[in-house]
Symmetry: C6
Subunit: 79 residues, 6 copies
């Protein structure tokens, strides 16, 4: 795995708003895939596969929900 | 990913009731799919696929349950 | 999605007993499926598919376990 | 769903030991399957299917782990 | 299910170190499989199936991560 | 399982930063696979399989998200 890129953008889970927290969750989910498959050409080839497959889109949703749970707790749910 | 639409409607996890919290969970789950597949024509094509497939419907339920767990905690479970 | 029916029966996560909490978890899991597939004829057609498939029954168990975790926390585990 | 049987044996998440908590987790996982597929003849037919399939055994493990997390929290981890 | 063997080795979630906690997570994940499939001959036959299958190895990782989350919380994260 | 290698590098969940916590999550996820499949030749053969498969990459993301949740809580979310 290449670890030469940031896996947690900004190196912090703290965001100003839930919206920014959600976007961080999406980015963190993608960066794990980048770390596991560093070859951007292969990633580009895989993108239409999962983005046009209903089951995989749901699975992406599951990962983002899990990342977001952590980020939301870190931010005390922006209460 | 297009991030030109809100991923957290209202930019808050706080809702008045569990019912509203549940509806927010459903919306947030859908908006991740929209972010991952911004082409509405493709999403429309995928909709009957997952909504008529027992396994995928269960997976949708899993995502919503995960989103709802976060929203419920944010609202201190509406106790 | 039709949102004309309650997704959280009683609009509360609070139950008198763990048993009632468990039944609420099962109902909430089903109501997400109803929200995603509002056509009762299609749902009836899908029911024997998942209820006679070992892998899908296990997945249903996963969803219920996740919903129950939230309900149990809401009720401070009925301690 | 038949709800004529207990879904939470003893109607409590509190157990004396982690071992008993683990056994409760296994039972609760099974009772959801029973609630979803009340026909014992069908359940008996499905049992060898999942108990001789590596992927399904792992999925059963996932459900039990999730149920156990809730039970362990309820018992303050038997500290 | 045979319940004649311990499902929680040592009947405690408390360990001295994160490393021991991780090993306990692995053992607990395996013991659920043993409880669901008590026949050691069948388990031996299944072992090469999941240990040489990329998807199943990832699923094993998911179960262990879930068990470890509980054990880590029980130990207050060994802080 | 060979338990002759560390499953929790540094035998601690505490890290200086979220970025280091994320890298620990990735490593811990991999070490479970190593524990389950100790033969490095087989692991090398499996690597291109999951790293070029969209569904499996998403599943890897799910495992890492779960491990990270634990690590983030251990570090009080690096607030």
């Amino acid at each position: 795995m290449s670890e030469q890129f940031e896996m947690v953008p900004g190196n912090s889970l703290i965001t100003k708003t839930p919206e920014e927290g959600r976007q961080l969750a999406v980015k963190m989910a993608r960066l794990v895939i980048k770390a596991t498959q560093p070859d951007s050409a292969i990633r580009e080839k895989l993108r239409p596969i999962y983005s046009e497959d209903a089951a995989m889109l749901i699975s992406v949703g599951q990962v983002v929900a899990t990342e977001f749970a952590t980020i939301a707790a870190a931010n005390n749910y922006w209460r």
